[in-house]
């Protein structure tokens, strides 16, 4: 099981015989393909891979992956995955979840998984809607979302998944788009990061929330609206005509024009994926005035939970025998002879 030699597989080896049942045109198809295309590049064995999901459209995912898979209950995938990984740290654990599953009913587990830094990949398919229950607004829906449960528009402010994850202490934050060619790159980086890797994937729900991300996912205008960050490279977009600089006054980021490729002169920041503060600024940029930050936004590994547990188990057991008879005979004992003795 510990054989680390990369093994050769093809995307087809990661497909099951099950008929994929998402609505035609659903973004989940593209994500499934991207994951199946990514797995061979990781050089891992299907039998050492476990996909754990909660409940929702996205959570059907494990049925379509030729690996071990556990479709659990609503919101609890992080907790089940924690048990899987603690029981066998050699397994490669992926959690598939959605905005309602991870941030509403399972928000507590998501928070604790991230703060503990369990070594796993969390793929959160964010479509800003409850699809499987037929279209109610979700914790990531924007204010004013009209849905069967909010016929006059939602009034509560949405959660920002990446900001939530950073706040919970996540050490890896990635962002991708269901149909974008860069998604496998983000997935590979997430897998390479040892610890809890949190990836938000903007996923289009064609039936209940169609085109909610279109303003920045459409190919047309993508250059203006998407900023794919790369460690060590300047935060440029719009074909290099615009960049992000630090704004001393607002203690935030500001958009600057870059003339003639002179990004340094314009004060454009070089992306440093190890800087938590920068990651916060990038994931919280309001779309419209700013582009949407995508790619590996934050990557600063730290010791993982399961390795600490294993180490403590070993240290605490050192030099101790697993002698059950001795254990139950411990403490203050007394011997009863054939005849009761009188004190």
């Amino acid at each position: 099981m510990n054989d680390m030699t990369p093994i050769k597989t093809a995307p087809k080896d990661w497909e099951t015989d099950q008929e994929v049942r998402w609505c035609p045109g659903c973004g989940d198809y593209a994500i499934l393909k991207a994951v199946q295309r990514t797995m061979p590049e990781l050089g891992v064995k299907p039998e050492n891979t476990v996909f754990v999901s909660g409940i929702g459209c996205s959570s059907r995912f494990p049925y379509y992956m030729e690996t071990y898979g556990f479709h659990t209950i609503h919101g609890r995938a992080p907790a089940v995955a924690t048990g899987v990984k603690l029981a066998n740290p050699d397994l490669d654990v992926w959690i598939i979840t959605g905005d309602g599953d991870a941030l509403s009913i399972g928000g507590n587990h998501t928070m604790h998984l991230l703060r503990r830094n369990l070594d796993c990949q969390v793929l959160l398919f964010n479509n800003e809607i409850y699809g499987l229950t037929k279209g109610q607004y979700s914790p990531t829906s924007r204010v004013g979302t009209r849905s069967p449960s909010t016929p006059f528009g939602s009034v509560d402010r949405p959660a920002n998944p990446c900001a939530f994850a950073l706040g919970a202490g996540a050490r890896f934050i990635g962002r991708g788009i269901d149909v974008h060619k860069n998604l496998p790159t983000v997935l590979k980086a997430a897998h390479a990061h040892k610890g809890a890797s949190f990836v938000e994937i903007f996923q289009n729900c064609i039936v209940y929330n169609d085109d909610v991300f279109a303003p920045f996912t459409e190919k047309k205008g993508a250059a203006e609206n998407q900023l794919w960050v790369e460690h060590g490279k300047p935060l440029l977009y719009a074909g290099g005509a615009k960049g992000l600089a630090f704004d001393q006054e607002t203690f935030g980021l500001k958009v600057v024009e870059v003339v003639g490729g002179e990004w340094q002169a314009a004060g454009v920041i070089v992306h440093d994926e190890t800087k938590r503060a920068l990651a916060h600024l990038l994931v919280e940029m309001p779309f419209g005035a700013y582009p949407v930050a995508l790619g590996v936004i934050f990557n600063a590994p730290a010791p993982t939970f399961e390795s600490a547990v294993v180490e403590q188990n070993l240290t605490a057991s050192k030099g101790k025998k697993a002698d059950l008879q001795a254990l139950i005979s411990e403490g203050q004992t007394w011997q009863v002879e054939k005849e009761p003795h009188i004190i």
């Binding site: 039998e47 609890r76 066998n88 007394w334 009863v336």
Partner: protein, 662 residues
Amino acid sequence: MATAVHELTPQEASAEPVPEAIVVRFAGDSGDGMQLTGGQFTLATALAGNDLATFPDFPAEIRAPQGTLFGVSAFQINFGSTAVETAGDAPDVLIAMNPAALKTNAPALKPGGLIIADEGEFGPRNLAKAGYEVSPLTDGSLAKWQTLAFNISQLTLDAVKPFGLGNKEALRCKNMWTLGLALWMFDRPRDAIVDWLKAKFAKAPELAEANIAALNAGHAYGETAELGTSIRQHSLSPAPAEPGLYRTVTGAESISMGLVAGAQLAGVDMFFGGYPITPASAILHHLSRLKQFGVTTFQAEDEIAAVASAIGASYAGKLGVTSSSGPGIALKGEAIGLAIMTELPLVIVNSQRGGPSTGLPTKTEQSDLYQAVYGRNGDAPLPVVSARSPADAFECAIEAIRLATQFMTPVMLLTDGYIANAAEPWKVPDVSTFEPFPVQFLEEKPESGFLPYARDAKGARPWVKPGTPGLLHRIGGIEKQQGTGNIDYAPANHQAMTDARKAKVDGIANHIPDQEVTLGETSGKLVVVGWGSTFGPIHQAVRRARAKGRDVSHVHIRHIWPLPKNLAVLLKGFEHILVPEMNTGQLKTVLRDELLVDAKPLNKVSGQPFRIAEIEAAIDAALAGRGGGAVPADDTQLPEPQSGLDPGRNAGHAGHVSPQSA
């Protein structure tokens, strides 16, 4: 000094025969260390060879305001020279460390019983807090008991003076002074307690010395002071017992050790997912120290994560175990259904407490039987095993693991707050005599092909560890297709899978021992049927009734679900069936429904165990054709916090009282 305000009358003196057993209750402020005093007295008593049973009774508040009625903490021990199975009915001796402890506990004392009170704590402030206008030590209101009042506080201060402690620290030794006196009264050895104090205060030798000095001073006080006739040394002969090695054990300890034993017998490592809750936390604490036995413990973020992580661990090839009390079990319900659907082994320990909702966190009840048997969505059967005593819990934990791993099913193990906290002597078993039940993981593809939901003769599906090549498969909470485990909503399939899950659990009846009669004949006029921690009082009551010539037997059920297959025939051999329970009649309902017998309930839901006398009276009534009924709550039985004095204070946290009170 000593004030014996009441001399025993000849009638009172002859009312009781020479005692075979004595009940002592230590009561004081929750900061007075009464549980500790009681625990050490228990140890000394066990070492003296007496059989014993204890009942710790403490408030839900960690540190209730000093001197108040609701801050009283008590510890009762019944010990004797014959077999002891209950913590006793009315105490013979009450040690009251302040007016509040006296007020809440004195009514339960036997007429003619002895009160020892710390006069030093009976000042105007404490008297007022307890609602006394005049000191009960001087107004004659305690006339039906013998009272000894002396200034334990001052005597303790005098005893520890040489050690230069501050006043507050010095007074903390009061409980050891009291313990010393109690040890003298009952002729118990002090050595073990001296050793324990030295170990406990190894880093502060002056505290160890001060406590030992207080202990010795209390003992010497009994030996030398002229206390009149009311205090005398009792010497109880040791109880006859089977030869062997004995120790005292609490239910929480024996369940933890039983789980370790069960995992060894199954040949798998254990994963324990838990979340702090009274009175179940002690199991998490014990197991956290047993890592050399291959135990991984995980304190999860909530009850749901605790059970879900255990399910994940079982899926990955360890034995998942989780534990809680009623409110936590309710939260785990959905996940338990997932374990039923995915047919994974899982043990769920429920240390029951008073309910519903937060209920009575530190009091005992048996009211989660319906929850265990019926409490999930869908047709979701699982085996239910119940422990009857701290010692019995060891075997029950092993049994729960046997059923979980052999039948690929979650199993509920019911215990309660009384069993979890109470201590009793336990004859240490020889673990080599237990029959192993090794788990067989499926590791290779069978020739006929691999089906994740193929069933063996017992109806169990294969257990496959992720990491095994060639056996990749997916499971989940959606209805499974027979054999393949793929998603399948077809009507005939759901019928077949529901039937298969039920048949598997029902079939466990063929793999558990037949129900035995604990005491008495296998047929006759009356059978008293119990489960769980009511064992002691039922057994003693039946024994007493039989000594009076009554035709009554005792049957105590360990396997609540499925019931033993001979139970119907057995119970139908009796004219009357009486079912005492600390709930409103839950086993009674199951027996009526499953066996079509006329089981009559005897119910008590006051957060207190049954008294022997209450069951004895019900036996007589049942034999006279007046079966069952409810035992009225009895405020004199055990100290109860005075409600209404402090509304809201415990509303926020009483549901998950810190481990200190667990």
